[in-house]
């Protein structure tokens, strides 16, 4: 890692104030991403992953609020930045790919117009140059007859094609960081790997970094250099992908890996983490995972574990971490 990471998130706390209590969707999350790195942000639904992404871009709407923490882009704190400063970051420095390509494009504007908007906002190119750039970008994400397709409307594209358009929009202004929030979840399985390959190739080619937000460890294990695992708005484990996948130290990560239905781990039968994510408005004292954890002991109900270095490159927040080779 370089001296100054591209993006450093420090102790981010984003809370939602609702009638039934304060939802601490993100509660003290820290991580760093260097230039050209891909970081996987993993956890079950409702674990606060997307909120991290929106917090970075300053897109948290009422009743949500960033309560504390820093988000440093090249050392500049985005939490303290004005809306006008943030606008220059959005789409230009950091862009985002949303989960559902069916809803993230404006149904009433042509694809070309929606692509052009990014260039109009962030470059000084004239109309002709912008058009050329859009065509080139559409072609590079694998859409043929791009010049014609610019005039088409989103409903004339399939889901996979739309996601390619969304990715093209995200890449247009050559951002240094792309936040991809479950970019393939809404797509057919056959399309998923195409899109992932496309994203990896595009990012490598442009030297950009990426935060890949997903619930699917199989996806990040192929894509990411580092993985950060979130549970109930907190980081429970992080480290290099190889270390974390091969020998996780947190029982939650172990559970996630064991529930991957593929050949990476040749278990006899697929296992599943018992229970569900606890009510995030009413978290108990101690470790949030203890009710679902096979290793939980009395201490886990009393003291909340903090992130501590484990074997290899891993850190995890667990009183009774797994050693390499140890089963959960």
């Amino acid at each position: 890692m370089t001296d100054q990471p591209l993006l450093a998130v420090r102790d981010l706390r984003t809370h939602f104030h609702t009638f039934s209590g304060t939802v601490k969707a993100v509660d003290g999350v820290s991580f760093e991403i260097g230039q050209g790195e891909v970081m996987g942000l993993v956890g079950e639904s409702g674990g606060g992953k997307s909120v991290v992404g929106f917090s970075i871009l300053g897109l948290i709407d009422s009743p949500g609020k960033i309560e504390a923490g820093e988000i440093l882009l090249d050392g500049k704190n985005l939490v303290a930045a004005s809306e006008a400063e943030l606008r220059k970051v959005r789409g230009r420095e950091i862009s985002m790919v949303f989960q559902d390509p069916m809803t993230s494009l404006n149904p009433l504007h042509s694809v070309g117009r929606q692509m052009d908007e990014v260039l109009r906002l962030h470059t000084d190119l004239d109309a002709k140059a912008r058009q050329a750039a859009c065509v080139e970008m559409l072609e590079s994400v694998g859409i043929s007859r791009a010049a014609e397709r610019l005039k088409a409307y989103p409903h004339q594209f399939s889901g996979g094609m739309r996601q390619r358009v969304v990715i093209a929009i995200a890449l247009l202004a050559r951002p240094r960081l792309i936040i991809a929030d479950e970019p393939t979840t809404a797509l057919d399985v056959t399309i998923q790997s195409q899109i992932l390959k496309l994203m990896r190739a595009q990012i490598a080619e442009k030297g950009a970094s990426m935060i890949l937000i997903t619930h699917d460890l199989a996806v990040v294990s192929e894509m990411a250099d580092h993985i950060t695992v979130l549970y109930c708005g907190k980081v429970v484990e992080r480290g290099r992908t190889r270390d974390l996948i091969n020998a996780p130290s947190h029982p939650y990560t172990r559970g996630l890996i064991d529930s991957i239905p593929d050949t990476v781990n040749r278990h006899d039968r697929l296992s599943q983490i018992p229970g569900t994510v606890p009510d995030i408005r009413n978290l108990p004292k101690g470790c949030n995972f203890r009710d679902r954890c096979p290793r939980a002991q009395a201490l886990c109900a009393e003291v909340e574990p903090q992130l501590e270095p484990q074997h290899g490159t891993l850190s995890s927040a667990c009183h009774f971490p797994l050693k390499p080779g140890e089963a959960a």
Binding site: L59, G91, F98, T103, L108, L121, Y153, H155, Q156
Partner: protein
């Protein structure tokens, strides 16, 4: 596209036919129009003769058939009161009503859309709450009462605007328009404001609801993630999507304006076809009522059709189907 148009045309004809049946039936049950045409001291023989002349002796189906065929031949009967073709009477008064309705609609849109967008984009702000309370008051007011209050304040009390009638008119292509003269404007202000309030309130509320609905959509957040300004996100991405329900309501509201114009015209003695309808109801002038209803039904059917066309122009998703 052609098939669609044809289908719509058949639908429209069917609606008009149903309306003609209902109008005919209702009219047959209302009083006896023969007393409208005979002198007060008419003898029984004279009454019977008038009855025959009016075709009231025939059975209902025969009467309806005659009614329908004469409608289709463009013969809409003569007013009992004015002794003139009913259609001529209505058409003479139509420009005044259309003028009033269009000015009221323009006023409603000009005020309602910006306020609705603001209130939808800033639902929590104090100004939005005031706007919304105001709009709710707008749909809670009896329109005719507002007209009266305006007359009392601006005409009787302060004497700023005239209380009744249509001002000077200018004839353009044979249609008399008052909005081209200053005097005409001073006359139209109060009735137009009166008529527009309810519509203004409704369009405002629909615009706001549309903006709030659109505001929850991913593409609005995606537009922000691209770095678009708040104004661009609201007006370029949001408003057009929010306008789709507004367009539907727009047609309905135009219909409501024509309907409520009857009341507004009565209050302000505005010489339009709405006032003529009310006067004709008082005088049981059946042919005029019938022509008014059939004409208004035709207007509504056409408006509904146009709304669907506008719909297709706004939304590219519908165009293909």
């Amino acid at each position: 596209m052609l098939g669609y148009l044809l289908k719509r045309l058949i639908q429209m004809t069917l609606v008009l036919w149903v309306v003609s049946v209902i109008v005919f039936l209702m009219m047959s049950f209302t009083g006896d129009p023969v007393f409208m045409v005979v002198p007060i001291d008419a003898s029984d023989a004279e009454i019977a003769q008038a009855r025959r002349l009016l075709g009231l002796d025939d059975s209902l189906p025969v009467q309806y058939w005659k009614f329908l065929t004469s409608l289709l031949q463009g013969d809409f009967g003569r007013s009992y009161v004015f002794r003139q073709p009913a259609m001529t009477l209505i058409l003479e008064r139509m420009p005044a009503t259309v003028e009033l309705v269009l000015v009221a609609m323009a006023l409603a849109i000009a005020v309602a859309i910006p306020l609705g967008v603001y209130a939808g984009a800033n639902p929590q702000s104090r100004i939005s709450r005031v706007i919304m309370a105001g709009s709710l008051l707008g749909i809670s007011l009896p329109g005719f009462w507002i007209g009266m209050v305006l007359i009392y304040l601006f005409a009787v009390h302060w004497g700023i605007f005239p209380s009744s009638g249509r001002g000077d008119t200018v004839e353009i292509f044979g249609i008399r328009l008052s909005i081209l003269t200053w005097d005409g404007w001073t006359h139209i202000v109060l009735p137009a404001v009166t008529l527009s309030l309810a519509t203004m309130a409704i369009i405002l509320r629909i615009t706001r609801a549309g903006m709030m609905e659109v505001g929850r959509q991913d593409f609005m957040k995606f537009a922000r993630a691209k770095g678009a300004t708040r104004g661009d996100v609201l007006y370029k991405h949001g408003l057009k999507n929010a306008l789709i329900p507004v367009v539907t309501i727009f047609g309905l509201q135009l219909g409501d304006l024509i309907a409520f114009a009857t009341i507004t015209e009565t209050i302000f003695s505005w010489p339009g076809m709405g006032k003529l309808l009310i006067d004709s109801i008082y005088r049981a002038d059946r042919p005029v009522i019938v022509v008014y209803l059939m004409l208004v039904a035709l207007i509504f059917v056409v408006i509904n059709f146009l709304v669907d066309v506008i719909y297709m122009l706004i939304d590219p998703r519908i165009r293909l189907k």
